[in-house]
C-alpha cells in the first residue's frame, strides 16, 4: 500500500519536482479564478439569478465574519473567503474519479498553515501598527510573552496537522474499503468524507479568523483591561 506521507512525482521542471497535488492545486486555482471571472462578468444594481446566488455566498461569508470577530468584514473578506473556498474545493475534489484532494498531502497543508501564520503578522501590523502587534504578545500579562510566542507557532502547526489528518484519513479509509469491497460499500464513507471536508474547511477559515482578530484586538491601546470578554 502506498504511504500517505509520500507524494507521486509526475515530472520535473528544472530541480522542482511536480507532484500530483501540485497539478490538482493548479486545476483548482484555474477553476476558482475562472468561475470568479465568469460569475462576476456583468454586475448590475438589480441582480439577476446568477448575481443573486453570488451575493448570497458573499453575504453568508460577511455574516460569519461579523459574528465571529464583531468587526467589519471588509478587510478579511477576500483572504478568509478564498481560504474557505479553496480548501472546500480541494476537499471535495475527491468526488472526481482519479483525483486525490491536494489537502491530503503534507505540502499543501503546510503551505496553507504558513499563509495563515504570515497573514496573522500582516493583519496584526496593519490593524494595530508594529508596536501594537508586538504588544499583542504581552496580551493579558507581561509574563505571558514566552507562552504567546510559543502559541503563535504551535496553533498554526496544529491547524496544519488537523487539516492533513482529517482529509488524509478520509482518503485512506476509502482506499482501504474500496480495495476490500469496491461496489457501493464506500459510498456512505464518501458521504461522511464530504461532511468532514466541509467542516474542516469551515474550521480552518474560522480559526484563521479568530487568530487574526485576537491579534488585532490585543494590539489595541486599550487592551490592558483584563476583564475584556473574548468571543469564541
Amino acid at each position: 500500500m502506498n504511504s500517505p506521507l509520500n507524494s507521486v512525482v509526475y515530472f520535473q521542471i528544472g530541480p522542482v519536482p511536480i507532484t500530483q497535488a501540485i497539478l490538482t492545486t493548479w486545476g483548482i486555482m484555474l477553476v476558482l479564478v475562472g468561475a470568479a471571472l465568469v460569475l462576476t462578468w456583468r454586475l448590475t444594481l438589480r441582480p439577476g439569478k446568477r448575481q443573486a446566488a453570488i451575493e448570497l455566498i458573499v453575504d453568508m461569508l460577511d455574516t460569519q465574519i461579523r459574528e465571529t470577530t464583531g468587526a467589519e468584514p471588509a478587510p478579511y473578506r477576500a483572504f478568509i473567503g478564498s481560504l474557505f473556498l479553496f480548501i472546500l474545493t480541494a476537499n471535495w475534489a475527491s468526488l472526481l474519479p482519479g483525483i486525490e484532494p491536494p489537502t491530503a498531502k503534507l505540502e499543501t497543508d503546510a503551505a496553507l498553515a504558513l499563509i495563515v501564520f504570515a497573514s496573522v503578522i500582516w493583519f496584526g501590523i496593519r490593524g494595530a501598527g508594529v508596536r501594537g502587534y508586538l504588544r499583542s504578545f504581552a496580551a493579558p500579562n507581561i509574563l505571558m510573552i514566552p507562552l504567546n510566542i510559543l502559541e503563535s507557532v504551535t496553533r498554526v502547526f496544529s491547524m496544519f496537522v488537523r487539516l492533513f489528518g482529517n482529509v488524509m484519513s478520509g482518503v485512506f479509509v476509502i482506499g482501504i474499503v474500496a480495495s476490500l469491497a469496491g461496489l457501493l460499500v464506500p459510498i456512505p464513507l464518501m458521504a461522511l468524507d464530504l461532511l468532514t471536508g466541509l467542516v474542516q474547511a469551515y474550521i480552518f477559515a474560522v480559526l484563521a479568523l479568530v487568530f487574526i482578530a485576537a491579534t488585532v484586538e490585543d494590539g489595541q491601546p486599550d487592551a490592558e483591561i483584563p476583564l475584556k470578554k473574548k468571543e469564541t
Binding site: Q64, R162, G165
Partner: protein, 81 residues
Amino acid sequence: MDYLRLASIVCAAFAVAFGALGPALAEGRAVAAAMDAIARQPEAANTISRTLFVGLAMIETTAIYCLVVALLLLFANPLLT
C-alpha cells in the same frame, strides 16, 4: 522474527485505540452540554453550534495527532530504515 517491526505495528494500533478513547468521551460531553444549552436557549443555537464546531475540531486534534504518530510508525519509522 523482527521484533522492532512487530513492536511498531502493535504500538501504532495502541496509539490509535487509546488516542481515540479520550477525544470520543470529551466530544460526547461537549455535544451533550451544547444540546443542553440549545434546549434552554433555542435562540442562541447559531452561536452555540458555531462554538461547538470549533471546540470539537480542537478536541479532535488530539486524536488526529495519535493517528499521525501511528502512520509515522507504520510508514516512516526512523528506526527501521
